[in-house]
Every structure is written in structure tokens, then in C-alpha cells.
């Protein structure tokens, strides 16, 4: 995930920015909400994915089980490929 903090209407939660996740599925292609929020057409439309994160990777002090996960919808322009697979 990109670790970026732009101003505006962003639907990428802070808690996953800069974190490592795995794509769970492609949900479809949707107009970009960061543009729609300002009455612009939202083009080019963005592929939307569900990305799965291990909770212990998101919260260093996570108190649940090490296998617990959180899945978040992320638009493609927020994803960065990792150089080494995990």
C-alpha cells in the first residue's frame, strides 16, 4: 500500500497505508471517489480490489490471534507492487 497522505476525500483508511496485504478479489471498476467528491466525472475509472491484511501487520500491539485478518476495499492507484513476495 502507498504511504501517502493527500488532502481531500480519500476512501483509503489511514490504518492500512504503508502496510503489506494480499489481493483477495477484484470487485469491479468504479469512478474514482476522490474525483466524484468534487463533482468531477471520476475518470479514468479505477479497478477496486479487496485487500487482506494480517491484523498483526496492521496493529503492532494486536491482542487477538495471529491468524486474524482485516479486509479493506482499495482502489488500484493506492496499490504498490512489492519487490519480494511474502
Amino acid at each position: 500500500m502507498r504511504a501517502a497522505y493527500p488532502i481531500g476525500h480519500v476512501r483509503t483508511p489511514y490504518y492500512v497505508r504503508g502496510k503489506h496485504g494480499v489481493i483477495e478479489r477484484l470487485c469491479g471498476v468504479f469512478p474514482n471517489p476522490e474525483e466524484l467528491a468534487y463533482a468531477r466525472p471520476g475518470r479514468p475509472a479505477q479497478p477496486l480490489y479487496r485487500v487482506r491484511f494480517l491484523q498483526r501487520d496492521v496493529w503492532p500491539d494486536y491482542a487477538g490471534q495471529p491468524v486474524d485478518v482485516v479486509e479493506v476495499e482499495i482502489y488500484q492507484h493506492w496499490l504498490e507492487a512489492e519487490e519480494h513476495g511474502r
Partner: protein, 219 residues
């Protein structure tokens, strides 16, 4: 007691309770805009006042019974459940539930996985299938905590998840809406769809509770 009774003339009662404020006493910017646009549309004959009333009634009438019907069908029909997990919106339409533009993702609880839904950014919720979201679903407390300490939050709802069950939190941040298929209760083997539907609560489809247990003895 603070009841002042006027015994001199007519027997009038003055009850000094704190006045309860009306809930419609502030004409906010958006309320004024809504009234202006609605009245303009009615004046120009685009819609009628009855159209507006009917639509409000329709929206208020949506409730968790719709989602429960899908869950009960999934419990009874494994093939339907597979179609539902593959494409929730299409599976809803298949049994005559109009979900409009809703993009539905259905997730299934199993002996190994428990799913719970939140929208940390606002209050995204499958209103077409569950009705209006409960107030706690929109609270900052639930939204900020269930995503980072789901086991503790679920326990506060009385829902204790065993340590060997994986918890999967779904954050509904964008265009998808989510429905949980809770586990089918024991002792319901020969139940009809209508009977099963009664065990499927709103909270069990958000994932903060289990489906109701089958009462012991005949239903």
C-alpha cells in the same frame, strides 16, 4: 412534587417537566435545500407529494427480513449458497429482492472463520437487505474499535469467539456492501425456510452475534 394545582378557578394542571425540544426545530442548510428542491419539483409537476411520501414509506419499510430470507435459502440450498458467495447482488435478484445498484458481497461463517462487518469511514450498510443501520453501527466507538480489537468488541455484544476461530473483519470502505451468513443452528434439520428465517437476526448478519438457537421442543 412540583405540580401546581390552581384550585381557585378551572381545575388546570401545570406540570413543570423540562420541555422536550422538538426534533424539527432547526432549519439547517440542507433541510432548507431539500424543502426548496422538493417544492420546486412538485410545483413543476415532475413528482407529486404522494410520490415522496410513498418513497419515504418504502425506505422505512425495508428491514432485516429480506437478508434473513437469503440466509435461510442459503442454509437449505448449497447450490444457492455458492451462487450467493460468488455474486451476492445476483443471488438477491434471483429470489426477487430488488437491491438496486447495491454491490453485495456475502461472506460465510464456518467452524473455522467468523466474519464481522464495519464501515470505519462512515456508515455503509446494506440498507436494501437489512433496513436502517443501528445507532451503534454508526458510532465512533464501534467503528474505531471493532477493526483493531474485534474479539473484545464482540465479547461486549455477548459473542465470544473461540481462540481457534479466525476473525475476519470486513471494512466497507468503498462500493461494496456486506452480508454475513451466520452458522446454521443445531437441531434445525427439518425446518422450513420460513421457520429458519425467524432465527436469522439483523445482528447475526452484521456478524456481532450468532443466529438464534432453535428452541428445544416443537416450534
Amino acid at each position: 412534587m412540583s405540580h401546581d394545582h390552581d384550585h381557585a378557578g378551572e381545575h388546570t394542571h401545570v406540570h413543570r417537566y423540562p420541555p422536550r425540544p422538538d426534533q424539527d426545530d432547526t432549519l439547517t442548510y440542507y433541510r432548507a435545500m431539500e424543502a426548496a428542491v422538493r417544492e420546486l419539483l412538485i410545483d413543476k409537476g415532475v413528482i407529486t407529494a404522494e410520490d415522496v411520501r410513498r418513497q419515504v414509506e418504502n425506505m422505512d419499510g425495508r428491514n432485516a427480513g429480506r437478508g434473513a430470507t437469503m440466509v435461510a435459502r442459503a442454509w437449505l440450498d448449497p447450490a444457492y449458497k455458492q451462487r450467493m458467495l460468488a455474486d451476492g447482488s445476483r443471488a438477491a435478484e434471483e429470489i426477487g429482492l430488488d437491491v438496486g445498484p447495491l454491490k453485495l458481497v456475502v461472506v460465510e461463517n464456518t467452524p473455522a472463520v467468523h466474519n464481522v462487518i464495519v464501515c470505519t469511514l462512515c456508515s455503509c450498510y446494506p440498507r436494501m437487505l437489512l433496513g436502517l443501520p443501528p445507532d451503534w453501527y454508526k458510532s465512533r466507538n464501534y467503528r474505531s474499535r471493532v477493526v483493531r480489537e474485534p474479539r473484545a468488541v464482540l465479547a461486549e455484544f455477548g459473542t465470544v469467539i473461540p481462540e481457534d476461530v479466525l476473525i475476519r473483519v470486513h471494512d466497507s470502505t468503498a462500493d461494496m456492501r456486506y452480508l454475513v451468513v451466520p452458522r446454521r443452528p443445531e437441531g434445525t434439520d427439518n425446518w422450513s425456510e420460513a421457520e429458519l428465517t425467524r432465527l436469522v437476526t439483523r445482528d447475526s448478519m452484521i456478524g456481532v452475534a450468532f443466529a438464534e438457537n432453535a428452541p428445544s421442543g416443537p416450534v
